[in-house]
Symmetry: C2
Subunit: 417 residues, 2 copies
């Protein structure tokens, strides 16, 4: 079963193309057959056109080897104009558009199910992207995060999810919810595939990242439970303890830290920014068809929240002042380990779950990677997040690679798909 092309990571697929062991058409056909079988259950796709995908694949097979881009023939999910332009320029095979919540801006789940338990939510707002990658329907998918829309589906579906530094990659063509929060994100089943994307999208740190010479040994890490720790469930609490212990047992230096008190307002400020920014962002749709909009978006435009412009500026400026302060704290460590979600994916697909543990990092603009490896009391996947200062995206990838090797092997969860 593991030899079927659709199960390979993008990095593995590219290796086979390069060796001549696989054509893009063969790969596309394998994915499309698998998607045909799974779409009725997982419902990850909003739009996919078999003939169009195969046509693309035939064109890509015609490209001479020496002219192929770094993603030649790999599969991708279309979501964003600027990012999709870059993916196509790198030779990616675009499969289709996955499902999201309404404008990727509500917590009302679409029909998409969690492939590990179809009675549970895959998370949101990038519901279909997280589910498709976990279910081997694509090796790479895109998403966005305004609250927790990339990291949450990553944890719920047991895949890697990365939210890079805000504005390190263009957001051109994505529907705007909040300019200062919205961040392009992506899903893969391996850190190597995240690295492929980091190359295509041009993520670059000031210092070239150092590859840990011997796994996690010697890494300086911190554990931070955050100011919303009272919302944690047993799954994430156990994962955080176990994750830290595993790293210590492999020679990492893991220390628990807390937020300085001035960070206490971050969750409230995130809410004020989000809801206030919903007013200009959804005003065009509101003017054209208010009756077709989700009530939460109508409330943003009508300012049902009651926040004044003064409240908004206090939040906007307050978060801005915290960003360099967080960078200075995180600069002391190779990465900081934080919860990705309160617990495993909740039952039902009506709600996509809580972004409580994600929104602060979105507001602080820092890169975050969800690393899978743990499980909750019902055997559903649970991941933990690694964060760094802003523009340490490449350094974070190296740490995630080393940490992921330990957690995926010894964390206790493995995909049955």
């Amino acid at each position: 079963m593991s030899s079927e092309p659709y199960r390979l990571s993008a990095t593995e697929v590219l290796q086979r193309f390069s060796n001549g062991d696989l054509t893009v058409v063969e790969y596309a056909a394998s994915l499309l057959d698998h998607i045909d079988e799974r779409q009725p259950v997982v419902k990850a796709w909003e739009y996919i056109d078999r003939a169009q995908v195969l046509q693309q694949a035939r064109e890509l097979d015609k490209v001479p080897k020496e002219q192929r881009g770094p993603l030649h023939g790999d599969d991708q999910v279309e979501l964003d104009a600027g990012s999709v332009i870059m993916l196509r320029a790198a030779g990616a095979l675009i499969l289709g558009k996955t499902r999201t919540t309404e404008f990727a801006a509500t917590v009302n789940g679409p029909a998409t199910t969690n492939p590990h338990d179809t009675g549970r939510t895959p998370g949101g707002s990038s519901s279909g992207s997280g589910a498709a990658v976990a279910d081997f329907q694509a090796s790479i998918a895109l998403g966005t995060q305004t609250g927790g829309s990339t990291i949450r589906p990553g944890s719920f579906n047991g895949v890697y999810a990365m939210k890079p530094t805000w504005n390190a990659i263009t957001r051109e063509g994505q529907k705007i919810y909040s300019l200062i929060l919205d961040t392009l994100g992506f899903y893969t089943r391996s850190v190597d595939d995240l690295k492929l994307l980091a190359e295509v999208f041009g993520l670059k740190d000031d210092q070239p990242p150092q590859q840990p010479s011997s796994g996690v040994k010697g890494l300086k890490l911190a554990v931070l439970k955050t100011m919303v720790w009272d919302q944690v469930g047993p799954g994430t609490r156990d994962a955080l303890n176990k994750g830290a212990e595993l790293l210590r047992s492999h020679g990492a230096d893991v220390k628990e830290i807390g937020f300085p008190t001035e960070f206490a307002k971050l969750p409230a400020w995130h809410t004020i920014i989000l809801k206030s920014d919903g007013r200009p962002s959804f005003r065009p749709e509101y003017m054209v068809g208010k009756d077709k909009l989700d009530v939460s978006l109508v409330e943003h435009v009508e300012e049902a929240h009651g926040y004044s412009r003064k409240d908004y500026m206090e939040a906007f400026d307050g978060v801005a002042a915290l960003r360099p302060k967080w960078d200075a704290i995180a600069e002391e460590y190779d990465a900081v380990i934080v919860p990705s979600v309160p617990d495993e994916a909740p039952k039902g697909i009506e709600s996509t779950g809580s972004a409580a543990f994600n929104s602060m990092w979105t507001a602080l603009h820092v890169p975050v990677i969800n690393v899978p490896g743990f499980q909750g009391e019902h055997g559903m996947p649970i991941g933990l997040s690694l964060v760094t200062p802003r523009y340490h995206d490449q350094a974070l990838l190296e740490v995630a690679k080393a940490v992921g090797e330990v957690w995926e092997k010894e964390g206790g969860w493995a995909s049955k798909l």
Copy 2:
């Protein structure tokens, strides 16, 4: 001549529609005839389709009076998806797309000329928008400002130009140059027309604006020459002196103030943010067709500027920290008067001129209105800018109305078009 419909302001046109003295088709035909005559000289339009405009006009004439939007049948220049959706929903007649510099992101002038002297630049990047409104080819036009791209053409063409508070109006659909700087702006020939747009786009202050009861009398104003005053020419220097004196003679309290020293880095920080943000924003175009991009944009993507991510964050966070400080300073006045440009529009259309006096206000996110009324040594128009704290857009409109009445009447410049 003044009775020809194309010469009317949007507010006047709407009044005639309402009275039944004018149809949208009559108005559209008047504008199109005038544009046909002027396009070979001013070259303000990138795209305009006579048949399509007349078809729109016929449709608008069919709308029953009680169902008409606040901009029923008014003319607009298409530039931005989110803003255009709102304009169409308000009943606006969209004429076409005006010319800009490349991606509205360079200072290399397009073919557009200044209608007051076709040997001079209309400014940029929103070159055609400023020229079209000055030349009565449209009563309203849209633009964007990342440096000085809205206010500069406003001053060079002798029209009103408004850059509202950053993110008070959605930027959805506009090409991104810098997320934290780019701001939708608009051009009109009267403050009443600016007010129409403020209504359609939903600009709202925390406090309802107070209409000055007797012109500028009693207004508390400040004059600020800024840290780039050494770049001023005789035209703007004289305009600033005259503008302040005129307001004093009409009973305003006008006081000169300076920037605190901590604002000194603002121009340099703006440059760092602009060039650094050009990297992610133009990377898609660069990957697809580097050879077709202006060299300045290629340099942004290739980081020819040499700024590190650390330099960028220092600038990004530094400007963020100054925003509430500027608000506190400006809060003491009804508005602060600052230069719009170094001087009248320079000769030649190759370069669109300097944004030195605009970039700091773009970075601080504050609303700015260019008010015309003065002239330079060659009789070309010169405007001055009024600025307030963030989210005082409606209050600023009231001050601009009162100040504009004085400057337009007694400033010494009047359009010969």
